[in-house]
């Protein structure tokens, strides 16, 4: 059975001539979530962008075991960042259909392919099916965010890179999103999420980033901390 494992070793990253990440090490495998924590400006988003290949790393290696060998880590990943990647002039459905057509679906390792949803199913799951024919420009911030989540549902990708996934979402949508992330993890997916709010997810590991000083290094905190949240192991989806 082909398990995925994302391994980062000694990753360093410079932005604007300043080192924001130094010696970041972690491992995260199939059916696991890694929560990247730390104060604002510590490099949580930068770490996700480095994994997504959007920012060049200054040092270190990022490898994916068990994936398609000729594909990069980025091509196995969904990146869910601060920007929603929506065109206000196009309708909700057009926006979503475009990304579905554009992305090449990357199957999970080991044939554990989760069925991807159709566009309308995904919109329905997220509670915005009634907006399908509206131009995306008319959506509220939370609805835009939910439409952006729908992109992750219509194209299967094993790795989800989530940057503050619950921002702008109300309590109910947050529950739905956490349920979807939990489903993804249970289906053998792999989640790396940057957040400063506690996320209630199963099989969670934590990575605490601290500000880079001249000699300090980021501590590896990949130990299992499942007992940190007692109820984490329950299914939520």
């Amino acid at each position: 059975m082909n398990q995925l494992k994302l391994i980062c070793q000694g990753v360093a990253c410079d932005r604007g001539g300043r080192r924001v990440l130094n010696h970041v090490d972690f491992e995260v495998g199939s059916s696991e979530a890694l929560i990247v924590q730390g104060p604002n400006g510590v490099g949580k988003s930068s770490l996700l962008r480095v994994i997504a290949g959007l920012v060049a790393k200054a040092n270190g290696t990022i490898e994916l075991e068990g994936g398609m060998p000729e594909r990069s880590v980025a091509e196995h990943s969904h990146y869910f960042g601060h920007l929603d990647a929506l065109k206000p002039l196009q309708s909700v459905l057009e926006n979503l259909s475009f990304w579905r057509d554009f992305f090449e679906p990357a199957a999970f390792g080991g044939g554990k392919v989760r069925e991807s949803m159709s566009e309308l199913e995904a919109l329905d799951t997220l509670g915005i099916a009634h907006t399908a024919s509206l131009p995306a420009g008319y959506l509220s911030a939370g609805q835009r965010r939910r439409l952006s989540v729908a992109r992750l549902l219509v194209v299967p990708r094993p790795i989800w890179l989530l940057d503050e996934p619950t921002s702008a979402l109300d309590k109910a949508s947050e529950e739905v999103l956490l349920g979807l992330i939990a489903d993804h993890i249970h289906a053998g997916g792999l989640v790396v999420a940057a957040t400063h709010l506690p996320l209630n997810l199963p099989n969670t590991k934590f990575l605490n980033l601290s500000p880079v000083t001249t000699e300090s290094e980021h501590m590896f905190a990949g130990a299992d901390l499942d007992d940190y949240f007692d109820e984490d192991e329950q299914d939520e989806g």
Binding site: L54, S77, K87, W99, F103, E104
Partner: protein
Amino acid sequence: MSWMKSLFVREYQLANRVGGGALIGVLFFLAVVTIFPFGVGPDMILLSRIGAAILWIGALLSTLLGLDRLFQADREDGSLELLVMSGRSLELVVLIKCAAHWAATGLPLVLATPVLSLFVGLDFQSIVLVTLTLLVGAPALTLVGAVGAGVTVSMRRGGVLLSILVIPLAIPILIFGVSAATAGAIDSNNFLVPFLFLCALTLFGLVIGPLAAAAALRVSGD
């Protein structure tokens, strides 16, 4: 293949919807060409002699006008990040975006050229030749401009810098385009050589443009 079609359709639709800017280029072209007779005066002989150049410069400026949003809009809403990391060939993405951009903004310029040619007193043969050279040469302007758009994508007011960067690169296209149109109108034997150079420049742009623009976009995520 279907992703290419989806991308083309989306880009074309976005350019044509309200605020997309497809018509702005034609209106700007109209404005540029119209002010020349006012500036030069009612000298039909002079106007018809420089008419091809006026139309070419008008087309160049109109093309530059719309190019700054080619990648910038995608960068601002986060689409560019997804396009870059999707695993699809970024060169092809750039090429398709250029093709859609040209179909939405460049092609209307070519279609407007015969009408605007009348403003500068061109005869029938010259009208045909100017339109033909623009049809062949205007894609090169878009492709060369795409490189400038890729380089200036992260700048807030990149449009001006884009023009400054691209205009020198567009000079060869302008030279061969105008010389094919004007020389051909005097003696049709002189048409072929500059016209073939123009074709070569477009083919050259077809290769260099996407490669260079994609390279610029890859480092724009920083």
